[in-house]
């Protein structure tokens, strides 16, 4: 068996997939009002978003977009509703999850097969929320997962009217 063949085998590919799941499933109902959904960003939260601090690029052959962010003046509840709507339209299942690294804040997960996208809503300033969508697993964007431009386009187009601006 050649190396190329080995790499192509499904069980081999599967065995390579790690699972650094920082999100655990939440038991609460999808419909419940979630005021806890937004967490205030401090200066270092903002600084951590810088791409210069993300060293995973050295392991990747090309830039993989695993995350997209936008600011909005919509309310957290509206954002959540929109995420669920867009997700459903694209065939995702909505799942409430908890972000273990952020005080177990509630985040909205979109699940479709092995693809999981998590939407986090953070408060930058009064009436300005930052919505961070991260591809946590799967996606055909590149070697390390993440979404391709087309997949991002599909997802993000549904938010266009509530977006103040998009950010990397």
């Amino acid at each position: 068996m050649s190396i190329e063949t080995l790499i192509g085998l499904p069980w081999f590919k599967k065995s390579l997939k790690p699972d650094p799941i920082e999100f655990s499933e939440s038991e609460s109902e999808i419909e419940s009002e979630s005021v806890k959904c937004k967490v205030q960003m401090n200066a270092f939260d903002i600084i951590s978003m810088s791409s210069g601090l993300n060293l995973s690029g050295i392991f990747e052959e090309k830039i993989v977009r695993k995350e997209r962010r936008f600011t909005t003046s919509a309310s957290a509840a509206e954002v959540e509703r929109r995420v669920a709507e867009v997700g459903e339209r694209l065939g995702f299942r909505t799942k409430r999850m908890k972000d273990k690294e952020n005080w177990n804040m509630e985040v909205v997960g979109l699940v479709k097969g092995r693809v999981v996208v998590v939407a986090k809503v953070l408060e930058v300033a009064v009436e300005l929320l930052l919505v961070e969508m991260t591809v946590v697993a799967g996606g055909s964007g590149g070697d390390g997962g993440g979404f391709s431009d087309v997949e991002w386009e599909e997802l993000t187009v549904g938010f266009q009217d509530i977006v103040v601006s998009w950010h990397c």
């Binding site: 650094p20 200066a43 270092f44 810088s50 952020n102 300005l128 070697d143 601006s165």
Partner: protein, 230 residues
């Protein structure tokens, strides 16, 4: 005759002691992975795999066997045209010899801190040093503002100065428990323990999978890693 030879030997020895020797030593092959392995969280095999990655990065642009800032930027951003305050800080922290280049040892020791199993104290210390732009042993408000502004500029997010000041006010209110206008290492540690997500950039999950056949194939044989799903 013998005096002459002695003289020549002496001269050669002095010349060798000149600047290049250090550089040469730095760019030599992997001498003893076991030593590095014992001083980092990596196993010998992981050190060897990391060395393949190092060779790949240091081989871009030229092959002096070292990583300069340009090659580092290239590895990180896939372009050497992107200036980044933070990438510069990271490079400077990796460069413990302060000679503007990274040898394999510096590369491996620094990346060891980013391993998922590295002690959290190391990560806290590294991140503190990262943000302590002027290296004064504390993070000043002005440094925080500089970093926030740099990040916002990079991401294209437009916040008014008032909003930025208010965010920094709130951050210092929470972090600066000694109320001296600066964040020292102890205050930083407390802040990070309250907000673990602030350390997310300090862990690279890829480092756990260095010795998966996939990676060593990529680095040594340049096979496309399209099949590697991480």
């Amino acid at each position: 005759m013998s005096q002459c030879l002695e003289g020549v030997k002496h001269l050669c020895a002095s010349l060798l002691r000149c600047c290049d020797l250090e550089l040469q030593k730095q760019s030599q092959g992997l001498d003893d992975p076991a030593i590095l392995a014992s001083e980092t969280v990596f196993s010998v095999s992981e050190i060897e795999a990391l060395y393949e990655l190092f060779k790949k990065i240091s081989g871009a642009v030229n092959d002096d066997g070292l990583i300069n800032k340009e090659k580092f930027q290239l590895a990180l951003f896939k372009t050497n045209k992107k200036e980044s305050l933070f990438a510069d800080r990271v490079f400077d922290l990796f460069d413990t010899k302060h000679n503007g280049i990274l040898g394999f040892e510096e590369f491996a020791r620094a990346l060891s801190v980013f391993h998922p199993n590295a002690p959290i104290d190391d990560k806290i210390k590294f991140s503190f040093q990262l943000y302590d732009l002027k290296q004064q042993g504390f993070i000043e408000r002005q440094e925080v503002k500089q970093m926030v502004v740099a990040t916002l500029a990079e991401s294209g997010m437009n916040l008014s100065d008032d909003v930025i000041e208010s965010i920094i006010d709130k951050t210092f209110e929470e972090a600066d428990t000694k109320h001296d206008g600066k964040i020292d290492q102890e205050e930083w540690t407390n802040l990070v323990l309250q907000h673990p997500s602030l350390l997310k950039n300090m862990t690279l999950h890829y480092l756990k999978y260095l010795i998966f056949p996939c990676f060593t194939f990529i680095f040594s044989y340049n096979i496309s890693n399209r099949m590697c799903y991480i």
